[in-house]
Symmetry: C2
């Protein structure tokens, strides 16, 4: 199976490493022999029909600043969509950086894959937030598989577990903590009695938060995950515009203290009920959703059965790479182990 990876950030590199490390296991257990036939970053690409190794890509990136530095296989281009359309990969992994404000390029990349009959895995949330119903439809129309497990919960298989719970029952409501950075901030504000700006600065210094933390603290990242769950688990065609969003920017410490007096912790909760929303909500201390530090958690309410909660780390390059691997195996199984 020939694989083309868009992007060369932490997730992409971890996935490429994992692919090499598991090469023999994948073949023995699944009959799958993946070959990495192309990788592109923001300034160029490496393309090789015989396959690229993790080492040569890493060396090229370190010495020349781009994977296009791989000897004999470099392509200087910024047009990933064209490369995708023209390459002979079976599957495209869209792992370019998620930028909510400009999903255009990643949408074009996925469209190029679908139109040319290639399956796709996206770990990039932006195209789903902006246009998930259309992307799902386009994949179906072209008869290709489309997966995106890594977009919600990192390595925690939130989407598949939620679908699993929905089988033989009905998911009536979803509530969750879908952003580790904001959970860390709220947890730290409470446990150490600090104010918002102090903790945010610390989170940025520690690398828990981006230098521009807007997507996290304004609730946009959580809202994206609400969109993906609503579409995938509940079959509700939604985009980011359908989510009512309130973040935690500048949240006064008093709100946290008042919640504590009522026996609650304040959490940034994404909710799929009658409506879709993201907002600070109080959660009883000791509730399964009352998770510390930067953990994520999701509670599914079911019609026949009782609540189910899944807790895990929501991010991390290696974790998310395992999600891409699961998606790859899913697609391999669905297409019947061909090619």
């Amino acid at each position: 199976m020939r694989i083309f990876v868009v992007g060369y950030g932490v997730v992409a590199r971890s996935f490429i490493d994992l692919l090499e490390a598991q090469q023999s296991v994948l073949y023995q257990q699944q009959g799958l022999s993946p070959r990495l036939v192309g990788v592109c970053d923001s300034t160029g690409a490496a393309v090789s029909e015989r396959g690229l190794s993790a080492d040569e890509l890493r060396a090229a990136k370190e010495s020349t600043g781009t994977v296009a530095g791989v000897a004999g296989h470099g392509v200087r281009t910024v047009d990933a969509a064209q490369l995708i359309a023209e390459c002979d990969a079976d599957i495209v992994v869209e792992a370019s950086p998620s930028q909510m404000s400009t999903p255009g390029r990643s949408i074009e990349n996925l469209k190029a894959a679908f139109r040319t009959g290639k399956h796709a895995i996206s770990v990039n949330k932006a195209p789903l937030a902006a246009a998930m119903p259309a992307m799902l439809e386009l994949a179906e129309f072209n008869g290709v598989q489309f997966r995106f497990s890594g977009t919600v919960g990192g390595g925690t298989p939130v989407l598949n577990v939620a679908r699993e719970c929905a089988r033989g029952d009905e998911v009536t409501m979803v509530r969750g903590i879908f952003n580790g950075t904001t959970n860390f901030i709220l947890w730290k504000m409470h446990s150490e009695g600090l104010d918002f700006d102090t903790v945010l600065k610390e989170a940025i210094d520690l690398g828990y938060a981006e230098t521009d933390p807007s997507a996290d603290i304004d609730g946009v990242d959580a809202a994206t995950k609400v969109v993906i769950l609503a579409n995938y688990v509940l079959g509700r065609p939604a985009t980011i515009g359908d989510v009512k969003v309130e973040g935690i920017r500048g949240l006064p410490r008093e709100r946290i203290e008042e919640a504590a007096q009522r026996g609650n912790h304040l959490k940034l909760i994404g909710e799929i009920g009658e409506a879709l929303s993201v907002a600070p909500q109080e959660v009883p201390i000791g509730d399964p959703l009352d998770v510390p530090a930067s953990l994520n958690a999701i509670t599914l309410s079911l019609k026949a059965s009782s609540d189910i909660t899944l807790i895990g780390r929501g991010a991390g390059g290696i974790e998310t790479a395992t999600s891409v691997m699961r998606d790859l195996l899913d697609i391999w199984n669905v297409i019947g182990g061909r090619s």
Copy 2:
């Protein structure tokens, strides 16, 4: 698809109700039209090629004390294995009461199904605790499907989630609270400062614990789930004899108080690591495994990724019935929607 149900307790009745309630959805979404062709309880059976309704079974049980009271379809027999072998069902649901000390009959029931080419779903833990490696082998040898989702976690899809996590990664360790009754007892001893005997009596009065609570408080029930997880998720052929078991019978309140002074809660933990064990262990307050009341929880440690925890109610007739339904759909999909 013709279904034969062994047992007519809460899970069996809930499953039969669910089957009727979802009849049209199952057909529309999955092309599956299940027909209940037989049910047996401890003194007799009802068998009908044209199908049995939930109402007639319930009415017969209420008026005559056995499902054999169904007019025109009653069979007075206590030999479920023979009925299973002779009936023309496609799938057998073994939902007779789990009695760890006498798994013989349920093992015979499953064997009868396998030998006569019938798929099986067991919600009865006893045959798995005693002979899971052999049962798995026998099902495979006879080319039939065998599922048992309801044996661990009730309606919480613990087994499938654990397998899902194992795909594309490796489960290195499993720790969990697999028995709701003992979690309730330990939680109540701590939160209300009561001693073991007082809480146990209350749990029995409230119906949380069986009149003979041995399987719960001696750790045998939890050990059974350890066995099932070890076999199914980690591929380790084990039976109950391989688990080192220590329960909580007569546990002194001081142990709980000492744990609390160290910032921990005492929990009955089932563990699959180097060895298989069940024993009271201290869990840090606020840890994902630190769940209150009668909740169950499982934490999977993975090789590449970080820990994942699943929390849910571990028991309940309706919950467990949804697991049987998931197993039924799994089998339906695996066999390609035939018959």
